[in-house]
């Protein structure tokens, strides 16, 4: 019996009981849809994290204070005051692969302009800070080294603050507003950057000279972070090593001592984030695969019912000359058609689902073609497996008994 005939016979049998066919397909549809949706969304999440991390800065290297233990007591990283402005100067001088360096000191504060106020965050940095963090100036100018030296009370404000503290159409440049008790002059505004990967508003900030934040707002001499730009992506690793060795010398850390700082590259952060999203994706895919398995068991169950119900049909087909192999193939084809059609519907549904969700969450829509292929193949295999035993049962039917079956 040729394959076309086989497909025709099986399709007819499936069409004879449309409701049951649709219901038994449903398991596979949901399973495949879940797998495809989860994989695509996971991929989209990864992509959006990568986009947002690269938004954070160009070949960014971050130096953070590390959690330290003193006499066995964990100090908590926020209490460590090991990073100093001098470290930045040493890095700027000593690390060949680092092009730009900026200290980072931040402070929260109430921003006030006349009757309007807003709680924002003030970031203190060097004039390079904006470029390292990929902020662009919309209007006005950046502050200068001179401003840093003079602890100048000047700042650039993000678009969220422009919206909250100024009327529509009002030019903030040259206006004096307050942060806490300190008045400062707005010398520039920043272009909008949107939310970052964690949903934080990247436009809700004031950038000032670090010295101003250190001396006039916080009254401290340490800094919280150092951000640097590596010359290129290729030298990022080398730059990290340079920064580490400079800081170890500067901090007088013995050969076997633990660093009191932590250096992270954008790449590492990307990997960290994607390993996190990867883990979540894996767990969700595993759950989706379980539902796929349940779908297969559903098909197997229905096929067993079908075989029993159609005992007489099997007997008849055998009596008019169908070989056992033809009966086996017929039922196998039925279950494969079932699972393949279910798979295709699930595939489309999964694509649609992931498209809608990524649209709703403003994530990039990524289609993982490999997984589409994998799920299609696995559908065929699952159909084969779940149909095999019922089909075998059918092919072993004794036609004499089957013809008498009521």
């Amino acid at each position: 019996m040729d394959i076309l005939n086989l497909i025709r016979i099986s399709a007819k049998a499936l069409l004879r009981n449309k409701t049951r066919t649709a219901l038994s397909m449903l398991g596979i549809v949901i399973g495949i849809a879940a797998v495809i949706a989860v994989v695509n969304l996971g991929e989209g999440l990864k992509q959006s994290t990568a986009n947002q991390l690269s938004d954070m800065g160009t070949n960014l290297i971050m130096v953070m204070r590390a959690n330290q233990r003193r006499g066995g007591v964990s100090m908590g990283s926020s209490n460590v005051q090991s990073l100093k402005v001098r470290d930045c100067e040493l890095i700027a001088k000593g690390a060949k692969n680092v092009t730009m360096v900026s200290p980072v000191v931040n402070s929260g504060g109430q921003l006030v302009n006349g009757s309007k106020n807003w709680s924002g965050t003030v970031y203190g940095g060097s004039p390079d800070y904006l470029e390292i963090r990929k902020y662009e100036i919309a209007t006005g100018v950046n502050f200068t080294e001179e401003d840093v030296k003079k602890y100048a009370k000047v700042g650039l404000i993000g678009q969220t603050i422009v919206k909250e503290l100024f009327d529509d159409g009002e030019d903030p440049i040259g206006k004096t507003i307050r942060v806490g008790n300190m008045p400062f002059k707005v010398i520039g505004t920043l272009k909008e950057k949107g939310q970052n990967g964690m949903g934080m508003d990247q436009d809700d900030l004031v950038v000032m000279p670090y010295s101003t934040v250190q001396k006039r707002m916080l009254g401290v001499d340490y800094i919280q972070q150092i951000v640097c730009s590596a010359a290129s992506e290729n030298v990022a690793e080398a730059a990290v090593e340079e920064v580490e060795s400079i800081l170890r010398v500067s901090h007088k850390i013995p050969e076997d001592g633990a660093d009191d700082f932590e250096v992270r590259t954008q790449q590492e952060m990307l990997e960290m984030m994607s390993s996190m999203t990867g883990m979540i994706t894996t767990v969700l895919v595993a759950i989706a695969l379980i539902s796929l398995l349940v779908g297969c068991i559903g098909i197997m169950n229905i096929m067993y019912v079908t075989v029993t119900e159609r005992t007489k049909e099997i007997g008849l087909r055998m009596s008019i000359g169908a070989k056992n192999s033809a009966i086996l193939m017929q039922f196998l084809t039925e279950s494969i058609i079932l699972s393949l059609i279910g798979g295709v519907i699930g595939l489309l549904l999964g694509l649609l689902l992931s498209y809608v969700v990524s649209l709703a969450m403003s994530m990039p829509y990524v289609v993982n073609v490999a997984w589409m292929f994998i799920s299609f193949i696995s559908c065929a295999i699952l159909g084969l497996i779940s149909g095999f035993f019922p089909a075998l049962k059918a092919s072993r039917t004794d036609p004499i008994n089957a013809l008498r079956y009521e």
Partner: protein
Amino acid sequence: MSERQSIIKVENLKRTFVVGSEEVHALKGVSFDICQGEFVSIMGSSGSGKSTLLNILGCLDQPTSGEYYIDGISVRERSKNELSEIRNRKIGFVFQSYNLLPRTSALENVELPLVYNPDVSHRERHERAQHALELVGLKDRMEHMPNQLSGGQQQRVAIARALVNDPVIVLADEATGNLDTRTSYEIMSLFQNLHEQGKTIAFVTHESDIAVFTSRTIFLRDGHILRDEPVVTKSAAEALAALPKDNDY
């Protein structure tokens, strides 16, 4: 009759079933020939072995001992697949309960045996099925589903299905068992027509008033042939005409 070719040749056929620890001898040595163009009825009460004999004649079962030739081919020691092929090419079955595929048109039901014959093209299959349906008088019912047909019409479809592969013999198993007298006579009349056209038919029944429409009767009792004798054939068409006209019918 002896000069005619023998379609079925059975020699000392025995069939023993093992039920639990007991041996049941369903056929205890049966021998007969059916020649081309014969219309034979095989009669017997239940337990006489006629179903067992029919299963063996239909190549659904194998004898324990003895020889069975169909169209000159020995059936003994044949594999399951070879038996399937013999059923497909040489035999046409008609069952008591019609056994049509539900929700499948009459035409497609008739096509079914040819589906399992790779030598028959799609087009030829279609044409032969149409022809077979014409032969049983269902030319205008080809696209009807079985549930849209009366019992007699369904049995006609089943007969067409048995004829479509041009078998050497048509085996009918209580083919009128589910039908009322009038319809039974109609079906028997159809069988007689087919017989006149030269078809070889073996008709298993336990009703003697059906057997009279055939030309020879083999009586079975307890696994033996009790009698094997020619019948003074009654015309089913005449019997049909003689039936009282029933207004309810």
